[in-house]
């Protein structure tokens, strides 16, 4: 039986709501999706529920949002970026690392009451978009948002999925419920900002590219490599839509550790070596990058052959150092140019903006910016 458009919407709303609300990752209505005659009866009784879902969903646009990355565990502090929309243009109001108490719990047993954060005045937007960086969060294509994995066997997860294309499995994001609940209560009620969104860090980072002017100027297919400390995310866009997302378990922290181990130097000196050209670290990092780029090549082949998405636009972002070595090796291996994407490029600064040194820190602030821009650019439903 062909689903009517409105019925599809209701089904999606119910599933979406249940997946968000249940936390256990098992929808009580899952068994109904294959039995349409049951659902037709069910649909009549759920009209009020659908109405409720419509009312309770996020149905207002935000014009002033601060993005905060929780769990990055950076020595500089917690990355926070405030952006606002004035007369259709997005402006950067503040960007810095904040010294705020609390550490993201890694197990449900080790959870403690979240501290009440009071942000500096420059970051006190009415709303906050939180993004979680944790080894426990995930973003991946999944056949079902509620499929049982190693993670959600251990503890309850909040999951949400988005259908990107009809012939692709939906993209699913998940956060352990204890981490989500802890993060959601960091910003107390009654003073700005309060949380309006909770995202996973790779999804937030993808939004920096979607919201950038570079993305608007591209046509056809584009691939962006978002480099995080422990993994690199491969995101392919076709006709302004995300068509493929993959994660490869090589990040810039691995590069740093390899160089540090092989050269017997500490982290700060390693960063300096990887940023300068005095020492060529290519022999040390090449084995790691080669395995990564091999995976990228496979994904690129998949795009070209299976999805007929030929692309020459390759971008990389999120690297705090050694971008030139990555680009050089990428060109050598794939015979393609890897351009650097700057997340803050094209973003105008508001009058009296309070912004730290972006050239040195833009990769670390990328995720916070992406979370804020996802909320800012999201159209009200």
């Amino acid at each position: 039986m062909v689903l009517q458009k409105r019925e599809k919407k209701v089904l999606f709303a119910v599933r979406f709501r249940c997946e968000i609300g249940q936390g256990m990752g098992v929808s009580p209505f899952r068994h109904l999706t294959g039995q349409w005659h049951v659902f037709c009866l069910f649909n009549q009784t759920m009209k009020s529920a659908a109405l409720k879902i419509k009312f309770t969903s996020q149905n207002k646009s935000f014009a002033d949002v601060v993005g905060i990355e929780i769990g990055a565990a950076l020595p500089q502090g917690i990355p926070a970026v405030r952006v606002c929309k004035r007369e259709g243009k997005t402006e950067l109001v503040a960007a810095d690392f904040l010294k705020l108490p609390g550490e993201l719990p890694q197990t449900p047993e080790g959870i403690s009451a979240p501290p009440a954060w009071l942000l500096p005045r420059a970051f006190q937007a009415p709303h906050a978009a939180l993004t979680l960086t944790s080894q426990l969060v995930f973003l991946r294509h999944a056949s079902s948002a509620n499929e049982e994995t190693e993670e959600n066997k251990k503890f309850p997860y909040r999951t949400v999925s988005r259908v990107l294309a009809q012939d692709l499995p939906p993209l699913s994001a998940g956060i352990p419920d204890f981490q989500a609940a802890w993060a959601a209560h960091l910003l107390p009620e009654g003073r700005p900002p309060t949380a309006c969104s909770l995202q996973v860090s790779p999804a937030a980072a993808i939004n920096t590219f979607i919201a950038s002017p570079v993305f608007g100027s591209l046509s056809g297919t584009a691939v962006v490599l978002f480099v995080f400390p422990r993994y690199t995310a491969f995101a392919a866009f076709h006709d302004f839509r995300l068509v493929l997302y993959r994660e490869h378990m090589v990040g810039y922290a691995h590069i740093r550790e390899t160089v540090s181990d092989q050269m017997h130097v500490d982290q700060s000196l390693t960063d300096s070596i990887l940023s300068d050209t005095l020492i060529d670290p290519t022999p040390m990092i090449e084995p790691l990058l080669r395995s990564l780029f091999r995976q990228i090549e496979i994904s690129y082949d998949y795009l070209t052959r299976r999805r007929n998405c030929q692309t020459d636009n390759f971008f990389i972002c999120g690297l705090p150092f050694s971008t030139t070595y990555w680009s050089a090796l990428f060109s050598r291996m794939l015979n393609l140019t890897l351009k650097t994407f700057h997340p803050f490029e094209g973003l105008e600064r508001a009058p009296r903006a309070s912004v730290c040194d972006l050239s040195a820190n833009e990769s670390l602030l990328m995720t916070a910016l992406g979370a804020a821009r996802a909320v800012l650019e999201d159209e009200p439903t």
Partner: protein, 215 residues
């Protein structure tokens, strides 16, 4: 068309308001405040009712205790009113008293020697309803008459009576007597006596006195 990848995992109940004035807080606060006000008002009302009942009881006791005194006071006041009315009446009577003594003492010197008064009488005023006489005069004025009866003899009895009349009309008596006259038939021969006394004439003078004023 750029569509952001906004995968929001925040639950609806975790959307907090940044406004310091929160309906979620203000509503229970207002409800508690109203409830507390209602309870306070109820206790005030109960207290007031209790006080009023207590006061009512005390007033009833007070009324019960002063009722005999009040009745006595009412009696005393009625008695006082009565006595006051009596005193007023007595005052009125005192004021209405006509003093005849001084004038009558002056008459003796002015009565001719041939005249002998046989009677001086002030008749009682005529009652409007003799069957039911009133306790006090109903008019503020009362006509008072002085009737003098006497006899005269001698050569000129008429003149002697007229002289008496004239004397009675002099200003010496006008303070008392307004008019003096001999009613028709009141000047006559004394038939009751012996023949030797046939020249004796009886007369009767009616004097209208100044009216009695009950004021």
């Amino acid at each position: 068309m750029k569509t952001p990848l906004h995968l929001n995992l925040l639950k609806e109940e975790e959307h907090f308001s940044s406004s310091p004035v929160r309906l979620r807080v203000m509503m229970p606060t207002a409800a508690v405040f109203v409830a507390l006000c209602s309870i306070a008002w109820f206790f005030l009302l109960v207290g007031k009712v209790h006080t009023q009942a207590h006061l009512n009881e005390k007033l009833k006791q007070a009324v019960a205790s002063i009722t005999p005194v009040y009745a006595a006071v009412l009696d005393s006041r009625a008695q006082e009113q009565e006595y006051r009315a009596m005193a007023r009446q007595l005052g009125i009577y005192t004021n209405s008293r006509i003093l005849f003594g001084e004038s009558l003492s002056l008459i003796a010197a002015r009565v001719p020697s041939c005249i002998q008064f046989t009677e001086m009488r002030i008749p009682q005023p005529t009652l409007a309803d003799p069957a039911h006489p009133s306790a006090a005069p109903t008019n503020r004025f009362e006509q008072v008459f002085l009737r003098i009866s006497g006899r005269t003899s001698g050569d000129h009895p008429s003149e002697a009576v007229n002289t008496l009349l004239a004397e009675l009309r002099t200003p010496v008596f006008t303070n008392l007597l307004r008019s003096v006259s001999i009613p028709k038939g009141a000047f006559r021969q004394d038939n009751a006596r012996s023949a030797s006394n046939r020249d004796t004439l009886l007369f009767e003078i009616t004097c209208e006195c100044q009216p009695r004023r009950f004021e």
